[in-house]
Symmetry: C2
Subunit: 445 residues, 2 copies
C-alpha cells in the first residue's frame, strides 16, 4: 500500500508547479524538500529594511506562464528601473552606453553586427525540442572558438565574453556553440535575453519572486515537507520508494525536480541507465555570487544614469538598479560570474563587498563608495543548488546525450528548468517543466 500517489523531489518552482498541477487533478502528492524553505533558486532577503531577491528575480515578455501564475497567486509586477544611460567597460576603458548598441567604434560595431547576424542564422537552425538532431559540427566547438573565428575586433570579442558570463555565468570556453544557440532559441533571441525593457529583465515581482513559491506552498499545505533531503529512489513494477533520513515514502511515481547535476547524485535502485548517468556527469552549473549594496537614495538617477553597467574586466560583470517602488532606498545589484565567482568565492564577504564597491566607483563615481548595507549569496556554495543560474552543456553533450534529458526512467520523471524546451534555465522554464512532468504522470495513469 503506497503512502501517496506521486512524490515530488524538490520544492523549487518546478516541483511546486508539478505538485499543484497534480493536486488540482485530484492526485495525492507528497513534496520532499531538502531545505527548510521552498523556492529553490529563488530566495527573498532583506537589505536596508527592503525585501529583495538574492536568487532569480526577473520576468519578461514571452514568459507567459510566469505572468499567469503571478496573477493567479494574487501577486503583481513592477518594471525594472530602466531610465538613463548605462556603462560598458572593456580593456580598462569605461564608456557610456545609450540604447542597446554597445558604445563601439564603427569597425567594431560592423564586426559585431556581422557576428550577430551569423549567430541568429545558426540559432534558426536549432530544432528547439530536439537540439540533439542539430549538426554535430555545431556541437564540436566551444562558443569561445566560434567567437574567435567570427570576430576580428577585441571589442566584439569582449561583448560575447560579457554575454556569456551575464547569461550563462560561465566563460565562452566552457560551453558548446550548440548550447548557446539552443539557449538563445529557447529564450526568444539574444536581445530578449539581454534586455531590460522588452527583454527578460523587464519586470519584477512586488514582494520578491520567492512569494511565487511561498504562495504555492501555502496552497499545498502539508503536502510540502521541508528539511527532508532525499538520498535515494528505488523502483520496481509495483511502484517507487523514496528514501530520506526520516524514513521512506512509497508512491506510484516520482518527479525529480532537481537540476541534473544534483539528480545524478541520488542513489538509484536499479542504477540509472548508463546514458542517463553519462548525461548528469556532463551538466555543470555556472558560478554566480549575487551581491547588493544599498544607499540612502538612488543618487545615480539624478545624474541621468540607469544604474546599469556591464564589464569585461570584472570582477563584477553586470549591474542593475535594484531599488524597489515605495522605498527611498537606492539599491544596486551585481554579479560575480563564472571564473570571477570561483575566484572571489574563496575570499571573505568583506573583500567581496569592497571589490563590488570598487567597480561601482569606477563606473558611477565616488558617491558609490559608502553603501549603508550589503547582502550576498554564493549559489555554488549552497549544498542543495551548487551553482547558478543553471546548467550549461559542454561540447558534445547535446548531440551525444541530449535525448536522456527529459526521457523518464521507468517510474521516474524529470523536471527542473534545465529540462524545459522554452525558457530553459529561467523561472518560466521551471514552470513548463513542472507542468510537463505532471502531465507525463497523469497520462501514465
Amino acid at each position: 500500500m503506497a503512502d501517496t500517489q506521486v512524490v515530488v523531489v524538490g520544492a523549487g518552482l518546478a516541483g511546486l508547479v508539478a505538485a499543484r498541477t497534480l493536486v488540482r487533478e485530484g492526485t495525492d502528492v507528497v513534496v520532499l524538500e531538502a531545505r527548510d524553505r521552498v523556492g529553490g533558486r529563488t530566495l527573498n532577503d532583506e537589505i536596508a529594511g527592503v525585501t529583495v531577491e538574492v536568487g532569480g528575480q526577473w520576468v519578461g515578455p514571452g514568459q507567459d506562464r510566469m505572468y499567469e501564475l503571478i496573477a493567479d497567486l494574487g501577486l503583481e509586477t513592477f518594471p525594472t528601473y530602466d531610465e538613463g544611460h548605462g556603462f560598458l567597460e572593456a580593456r580598462g576603458a569605461v564608456r557610456a552606453m545609450e540604447g542597446s548598441n554597445p558604445p563601439f567604434g564603427p569597425f567594431a560595431l560592423a564586426d559585431l553586427f556581422q557576428a550577430q547576424r551569423r549567430l541568429e542564422k545558426l540559432v534558426d537552425r536549432v530544432p528547439l525540442d530536439a537540439p540533439w538532431t542539430a549538426s554535430p559540427e555545431l556541437d564540436a566547438e566551444t562558443f569561445a572558438s566560434w567567437v574567435r573565428r567570427r570576430c576580428r575586433t577585441e571589442d566584439a570579442r569582449a561583448f560575447y565574453e560579457i554575454v556569456s558570463e551575464a547569461v550563462f555565468a560561465t566563460r565562452p570556453a566552457n560551453m558548446a556553440l550548440l548550447h548557446v544557440l539552443t539557449y538563445v532559441a529557447s529564450g526568444q533571441g539574444l536581445e530578449s535575453l539581454l534586455g531590460t525593457g522588452g527583454g527578460a529583465q523587464q519586470d519584477r515581482v512586488v514582494g520578491g519572486t520567492q512569494l511565487v513559491s511561498l504562495r504555492m506552498a501555502e496552497e499545498l499545505g502539508d503536502v510540502v515537507q521541508l528539511s527532508r533531503p532525499v538520498w535515494g529512489i528505488a523502483q520496481d513494477e509495483a511502484g517507487v520508494r523514496v528514501e530520506t533520513e526520516a524514513g521512506a515514502v512509497s508512491a506510484d511515481r516520482v518527479i525529480v525536480a532537481l537540476p541534473p547535476t544534483l539528480a545524478g547524485r541520488l542513489g538509484y535502485e536499479p542504477a540509472m541507465p548508463a546514458v542517463r548517468d553519462q548525461l548528469t556527469q556532463r551538466l555543470p552549473h555556472g558560478y554566480v555570487i549575487k551581491v547588493m549594496v544599498a544607499y540612502d537614495r538612488p543618487w545615480w538617477r539624478d545624474k541621468g544614469m540607469a544604474g546599469q553597467a556591464t564589464s569585461a574586466d570584472g570582477p563584477i560583470g553586470v549591474v542593475f538598479d535594484n531599488s524597489v517602488p515605495g522605498s527611498d532606498v537606492g539599491i544596486l545589484v551585481g554579479f560575480f560570474e563564472g571564473e570571477h565567482g570561483a575566484v572571489w568565492g574563496r575570499r571573505t564577504p568583506v573583500a567581496r563587498r569592497q571589490a563590488f564597491v570598487d567597480c561601482l566607483v569606477r563606473w558611477f563615481g565616488p558617491e558609490a563608495a559608502k553603501p549603508v548595507d550589503y547582502v550576498e549569496r554564493d549559489w555554488a556554495a549552497e549544498e542543495w543548488t551548487r551553482g547558478c543560474y543553471g546548467a550549461h552543456f559542454p561540447p558534445g553533450v547535446w548531440t551525444q546525450y541530449g535525448p536522456a534529458l527529459r526521457e523518464p526512467v521507468g517510474r521516474i520523471h524529470w523536471a527542473g528548468s534545465e529540462t524545459a524546451v522554452h525558457w530553459m534555465g529561467y523561472m518560466d522554464g521551471a514552470l513548463e517543466s513542472g507542468e510537463r512532468a505532471a502531465h507525463e504522470v497523469l497520462e501514465a495513469g
Copy 2:
C-alpha cells in the same frame, strides 16, 4: 575514540596502494569498498576457459610503479602479441598497416606529421604538475576544433578521431585541447600511449591484472571490508566519520580513492567547498564497452596478421590479439568507445556480439564469423564506476578548476588515477595517487 586512524574509500588500485603504504608505516587502516570485490576498473573474467581482463589490462615502459608492484607481489608479465600487420579502416576503406605509420598517401602523411609536430610542441608547453597554469587559450577550444584547423586531409582527421576514442573513449569534441596535451604529457607522448611494443600496451600480467589488487587485498586481510558502499563523510576538528549503511567508521583522516565524478556524489558535512564541487560536476567519464571473442586457435597469425585493427568507421574502434600464452585459444579484444559505446550500450549482448564479429570479418576475413565464446563489460553501466577508461576534462575546466583536483579538504584526501601527475588515467597513475595521498596523511600526522 576513533575506530581506526585512516579510512580509505574504494578498493581499486589507488585505495589498496594507499592502504598498503599506510599499513607498512604502522598506521591503522580500514578500507571500505562498495562492491563485493576489489580491483575497481580492473577485473578478471573468463572466456573459453581462459582468464582474461574485462577491465584495464596493459602495462608499458615508463610505468615503473606497476612493474615494481607486479614483481613485489610475485606476479609476472608477458608481452602483448605484436607480430604481423594490422589494419586501419576509415571512410569505408580497410588498409593494411605495417609498422607504426598509418597507411596514408604522401599528402595525408605529410599533413599528419605536421600536425603531430605541432601537437608535440604544445605538449612540451604543459606544466605537468600544474596544467592550470598553461595558457588559457589551450583550454578554450576542443580537440575537435584544433584538429579541424590543423589538419587539411580527411585521413589525418580520421586518425585523431581514432586516437581520441582509443585513448580517451570519447570524441575529440568532448575534450579541451589542453586536456589532450596534459594527458599525452602525463603518458610520455602520443606514440607511447598508442603503442604495443615500446608503448603503453606492451605487456600484460600473467593471470590477469586484477591479481595485483587481489594480492594486495590478501596482504591487507580484514583491513578491507567489501560490500560497504560509503554514503557520506562528516568531518570536524576531532576527526572524520565515514557513513555506510552498516554503520559509521570514525578515524583521524580519510582518503577518497574514487574517480572525481563518484567522489562528488557522496554527502559531505560540512558541504564541499564550491570550487571542489564545481570541479567534480565537470569531470565526466568516457564510455567503453570492452568485448572479447574466442576461437579454437589464433588463426589470424597464420596469415601474417597481428590481430590488430583501428577503425574510424566503427562501431568497434580498436582490436588487439588478446590470446594468453599456455593456451591454444585465440582471443580478440575490441572496444565500443565513446559515442559508439553510448549507442550500443542500449542494445542487447547478442547484437553487440554480432556487431563486433561483423567488424572482425570486415578486417580479418570470414574465419572471424564463428567465435566459440564471447564476454563483454559495459563500464558506464556499472554503478560503482560509471564509465571508462577514466575522466576527461571539457574546455575551461583545467584552467578554472584544476587546482581543486588534489587539494585536500580538511581531513579528506583525494586519490584515484584521475589525480595522478604521471600516467593519469592508467593503472600506474592510480598507484602514484595512492602513494601520494598516503604520504599526505602521514605528513599530517
